[in-house]
Symmetry: C4
Subunit: 282 residues, 4 copies
């Protein structure tokens, strides 16, 4: 009885907002997911001039609806969490705030375009809902392979950058300004465009010597792409072979998050938070 009485509205609301195991929690997550996606699509549509001109009123109202929904959610999250300050200063807390305030600020300052960037941060909120439980096993393996290759990939990217600076300077001297290589930084930009095999074609070499160097840069870029691929491939392959113990826990990942410290990824069947010791059986 003591346990049940503790289940007051705050705890119940906490369960709905932070968990995905109860029907109410799942419903909340689905609604939130749709709201977030709608809010992102709104930002995009607003940027299309012709669309904004025709449906300005509709976009404005929709934006206000989403802002109010986000505000309610933000307040609810603060109220139900045991340590509100910890939530507010957490990564997701800041993202949640930045997703909400732009519209309020626009009320004071008028529609400043730069705020669209802040609203784009809403996208990051998707990660919290999905919790990516299903693909966690897949991405865990991937992330650990990338982490193990980090140092080598950094060395590689550093080498690419130095190559770009050297060849960029060379191309600036060879081609000169009349071909579009107007300065060394622009030449380096062109060199990265070429080395990565993107090849916009906004700047192209026109002198024979420039074209020979460009051909060399392309073949270089074509060849060295093998390096990061080889690294990740080998690291991933090693991990995949030893994979059994790493894969095992990922299957039984539960979606509970601690009401006290908000840490997640507790083991299935765990009754206490592995981070702060607070009970998970709310």
């Amino acid at each position: 009885m003591d346990k049940i009485s503790k289940k007051n509205w705050k705890v119940r609301l906490h369960d709905i907002i932070y968990e995905a195991d109860t029907p109410a929690g799942k419903l909340f997550d689905v609604i939130l997911l749709i709201t977030i996606l709608a809010s992102i699509i709104l930002v995009m549509l607003e940027s299309i001039r012709s669309f904004d001109a025709r449906f300005h009123r509709f976009l404005n109202i929709s934006e206000w609806i989403i802002t109010i929904l986000f505000t309610i959610e933000y307040i609810a999250r603060i109220v139900t969490v045991k340590k509100p300050l910890k939530y507010i200063t957490s990564f997701y807390g800041i993202i949640d705030l930045l997703s909400t305030i732009p519209k309020y600020i626009s009320l004071i300052l008028g529609g400043i375009h730069a705020l669209a960037a802040l609203r784009a941060l809403r996208l990051l909120r998707i990660f919290r809902i999905l919790k990516l439980a299903r693909y966690m096993g897949a991405s865990n393996l991937l992330i650990s392979a990338l982490k193990a290759s980090r140092a080598k990939i950094l060395v590689f990217l550093f080498a690419v950058l130095i190559l770009a600076i050297i060849f960029g300077t060379l191309m600036y001297l060879v081609e000169g300004e009349q071909s579009g290589f107007t300065s060394i930084p622009v030449s380096i930009y062109w060199c990265i465009v070429t080395l990565t095999t993107v090849g916009f074609g906004d700047i192209t070499p026109v002198t024979p010597l420039g074209q020979i160097i460009a051909a060399f840069i392309m073949i270089l870029g074509y060849g060295i792409i093998a390096v990061p691929t080889g690294i990740v491939s080998a690291e991933y392959s090693t991990r995949n072979r030893l994979g059994a113990p790493e894969k095992a826990p990922s299957i039984h990942l539960n979606t509970l998050s601690c009401a006290n410290c908000m840490s997640e990824k507790h083991q299935d069947g765990a009754e206490f938070c592995s981070n702060c010791g607070h009970t998970l059986n709310t």
Copy 2:
């Protein structure tokens, strides 16, 4: 004798149309393959304005010949199959119908261009003829490696899409409309063009800050291509090493398809359909 008397014209026609083991069946398959290829080439040639203007009559007659041939084949397939409804509602049944009707509809509605798309579906018919028996072993291994990597590749593509949205929004704010980044969706399109190292060059950054971000996106795209490659490579490598039991059955694949339920890929020497138990020894 009882067995032989069952071999009436329907069964014989079924053998010719659905099997590739008898001389008549092989001949039918070769003629059908040529007809399909001819029909696809016809659709292509018709789309070339100058060609259509000069050879309109020839193209029209050819299209009618192919349509009539496809109609005969479609009816023959329905007649010879034990469960016609099952064939009509099957994937290949729908493709076969959609490959045939556009010309009849054009008779009623006049030459609507959108029907060319339906006729392009004829291409999918090739798969049924080739049955790809020879390369089945090769592609089986490939497909199973791709299937095993599916979840990881989805996580990767999702990550690419989120990167494109974030950087697309950023580039829209940095470059603005005068550089061609007219809206966030267009910026995201540009970002995908750059991340995948395609680099059309129809939209290119012109501000120094935009070029720095673009360079970063390119190097990112150049680096993360290693991820899907590494995944498929490792999965395929694992499969290849354990490959013996998987490869074995693929060698002895026969080309019989059940007259009752149309299921294929029966084991060599099988006398009954593995799906419905119907005899295969027609």
Copy 3:
């Protein structure tokens, strides 16, 4: 004495032309290599209009010198080989002839441009001289990995082609002629340009729907490049692990070619041709 008397001028010339083990043979190979490279550079320079205008006389004389040198070599090869007809009808025999005759034909027909293509075949002659003895071990492993992956790579390329045809037709219907997608073949060409991440930018989608499909094609192309890479990587990796027995013979490859049947790649220390049994100790 009997053996020495057999070493008449024909045999000695054969040794010089076909072998690389004697000082004279090496010298011949070096001179031939230089001549071939010079002949290729000549063809290139001739195609540069401004260069040809200024140095026409020089280019013409040089071309004649090379043609005469090639003629002498061609006659010498026929004379010294035991079975001239076999040489003349062999791959290298035809290449040697086609490298020589264009100039003679131009004497009769005047300078027809199409003959430049034939002269470009001279490039293939390089392979015979280099014999690639040093890198044979490296390329053997590579070629055997590619051969083993052949069927899978063909399935992959076939899939790419079908994707290109389907999406090409789709883009033709979506974008239409005003965007540069003037016909289905042109759309398919554009689709291959995009799928392979080349991205010329001569044709680009302008409608929102076209750009969405294009983005999808790009991500597809970016993703499926992993497939051939994974295949070759895994095949090569397997071969590399088992590699010892395969690598061993490649180290002791000699450069002798049989005077009778012209087969090469005899084992080191072999005294008789492994193909026809003719003695190699000329």
Copy 4:
């Protein structure tokens, strides 16, 4: 006492300049790193016409400050090393000199642009400071994998070049000058642009036959990128598996360089130079 008295100013200066183990040595390295980066950024900024016009005076003074700092460092390095001539003729000695003299020469000859290239060599100086101790293990493995694949990658690049020459000549004959394929060398350049999937779009085929050949080249380029990737991947994978003995020494790499012969990469705890036997305990 005998040992301590030997520690005169020259030895102490040598420690500061050449080592990174003492606080003074670390401080020197950090200052030098900042100076080098500043000098590179200066060269870049100078090349931007609008920036140079506005801040010419500032750039000139900064360049003189850096030149003087580099001069002092260069003299200090000569003075403190036991064999100055060996330093001056060493790779880093020449780089150090070439990084310093351009400004002095410009004093005599005026600001010649070509000297910017020499100053770009300053970038190479970074390697000496970083000593890349931390990532050495990572890059060692990488470099050894690349070295092992060298012969195979050369064969591959040679094949790419020959393909480019053959298809370049073919495209020149097919497309002709009106499409931008003005000469065989330009066609080869285009062919490399296409084969490496860079695709600038400055030159594009316009004839149907040219587009078919171009499509073939693209698919070829898209497919053969698998080859270097597969090689590096397999080599790296093998090395990674056997990796333990190779990785081990890289962890305990010290940063001492011999005062006598300037060789580096001594084992941790080594008291004598592994190259010349000179004591390392300065």
